[in-house]
Amino acid sequence: MNLNVIAFYDRWGGVLGEATIETFQMVFISLLISVLIGLPLGVLLVLSRPDKSMSNPYVYQSLNVVINVLRSIPFIILLFFLLPFTKFIVGTSIGVKGVIVPLVFYTAPYIARLMESALLEVNKGVLEAYEAMGIKTKDIIWHVMVREAKPSIILGLTIAIIGLIGATAMAGLVGAGGLGDVAYRFGHLRYEPEVMYVTIVLLIILIQGIQSIGNRLAAKAKKD
């Protein structure tokens, strides 16, 4: 038994370790960029919404359409559809670098929606109280809206990360590696069931871990 584990580790440890790092890289970089794009878009969606003081139907409707269109396209299609664009932006369409662009296109609109719904939950009375105190709109957005929405934002980001991990499984198709790719290539195509099982267990642990960390951080941010 022990020997088996050691043998397995000798044979696959390197591959799995590398794949884990690749997954983390892909998730981390595309999450960062997606938040930088998605959070402002979420704020814009909330501000331009009808009935709001800064209501702007054109901005709101066009954002809505773009986000819905992007969110309707399956990731795998997005991956290939964006190939030329990816190459243009990052100089290559393969490897971890090549998969970041489609991952961002996939995740940023999703995060924008998650942020929108998190921000909409913020008590409008509080926003009004700050408006009544003569505080600038940009300060209200940051110090009231985003701050108060933090627990929901954290939960939303947790969901987004898990979705991202799912999407990275397909990144192998453009040679970006990652855990999903290992499970598919070695486990499925080359029929090494142990590798597939171990990868799946690793993914389960990863996702469980992320969800519980997210839940715990959100609860801590909630303060009531």
Partner: protein, 341 residues
């Protein structure tokens, strides 16, 4: 201090239906007074106070606070003026994710108060509202009354000239309501802050207001000193509000029976005559029997105010003399009309 001039406000709903919430309302709140606006739900009270700091933009009319017309101000000027107009709400509107201290400190910082001065201000105003031991507590752990105290401290910390209150006590139990009203009264007296408050409860008006306006259907139907309005309400709605304090629901049949044997009068006492036993003297001085049908005394801001409904039984000659005596004693006497009900 606050002048509302012919304020109208029309809301347009999605289906293009119009709701006119305010129809040419004019009001003046004088420096240093506590002015109350009372009315039933939907009368337009919230819309009215929200027009004072332009949270709601009037469709027409002008708002003047502290001598400056707010309507034609630039965004920046309006922000500066708003910093001089505090506001408290029924729902407290505190940051849930911030401590009591931060709830006061954050807006101070955002309005440009120096970081050296912020702790001093927070301490000062938390002490005034009696929460100096709650710095690091989150609003979720406070009672409704304590939350409102934090909101009051937050408003005061900007050292405004005016405080607007939109049903600030409506979510609180009677005891807590009283303590919050006492606090508002103290703020008004010690800092000279002018207060405009709206409410649907008469006891809020009588406890702290100097003057009051009654609103109905987007209009101010009656306004004046609290005592005047209480002792001689003119409009039906005003009478209803006043009568809610003096329940008088004897059956019509009984009143009609009684009336055959002498007048039924309502006596209004203001100030000192409220505690003078004018009524008890009647039977001794004249050949009449006085029977109290209903009555109540309430404490206005600084005077007791009472209303008794009594039946004066006796010959017309004697009852006339008795009524005359009461009037001489400073009691306001009105005959009760039965069909008024």
């Amino acid at each position: 201090m606050i002048q509302l001039k012919e304020i109208s406000k029309t809301f347009y709903s999605k289906k293009n239906e119009e709701v006119t919430a305010l129809k040419g309302v004019s009001l003046e709140v004088k420096q240093g007074e506590i002015f109350g606006v009372i009315g039933y739900s939907g009368a337009g009270k919230s819309t009215l106070v929200r027009c004072v700091n332009l949270l709601e933009k009037p469709t027409s009319g002008d708002v003047v606070v502290n001598g400056a017309s707010l309507k034609n101000m630039s965004k920046n000027e309006l922000r500066k003026s708003r910093q001089n107009i505090g506001m408290i709400f029924q729902g407290f509107n505190l940051l849930k994710t911030a401590t009591v201290y931060e709830n006061i400190a954050i807006p101070l910082k955002l309005t440009g108060i120096s970081s050296k001065e912020i702790p001093t201000r927070v301490e000062k105003y938390l002490a005034i509202v009696g929460l100096e031991d709650k710095h690091h507590v989150y609003p979720g752990q406070l009672s409704g009354g304590q939350k409102q105290r934090v909101a009051i401290a937050r408003a005061l910390s900007h050292e405004p000239d005016v405080l607007l209150s939109d049903e600030a006590t409506s979510a609180l139990d009677p005891e807590t309501t009283h303590s919050i009203l006492d606090l508002l009264l103290k703020i008004n007296r010690e800092f000279g802050i002018t207060i405009l408050l709206i409410t649907h409860e008469m006891h809020v008006i009588q406890k702290i207001c100097d003057r009051v306006a009654v609103m109905e259907n987007g209009e101010v139907i009656e306004q004046g000193n609290v005592i005047d309005l209480y002792s001689s309400p003119k409009k039906r709605t005003t009478k209803k509000f006043v009568n809610s304090l003096f329940p008088n629901d004897l059956p019509k049949e009984i009143l009609e029976q009684l009336k055959k044997r002498g007048p039924i009068i309502s006596m209004t006492f203001v100030g000192t005559s409220a505690d003078k036993p004018a009524l008890s003297q009647l039977s001794k001085k004249f050949d009449v029997d006085a029977n109290i049908l209903s009555g109540n005394i309430v404490q206005l801001k600084d005077k007791p105010f009472g209303k008794l409904v009594a039946h004066i039984q006796g010959e017309t000659e004697e009852t006339d003399k008795a009524l005359h005596y009461l009037k001489e004693e400073g009691v306001q006497v009105d005959e009760v009309e039965i069909n008024e009900s």
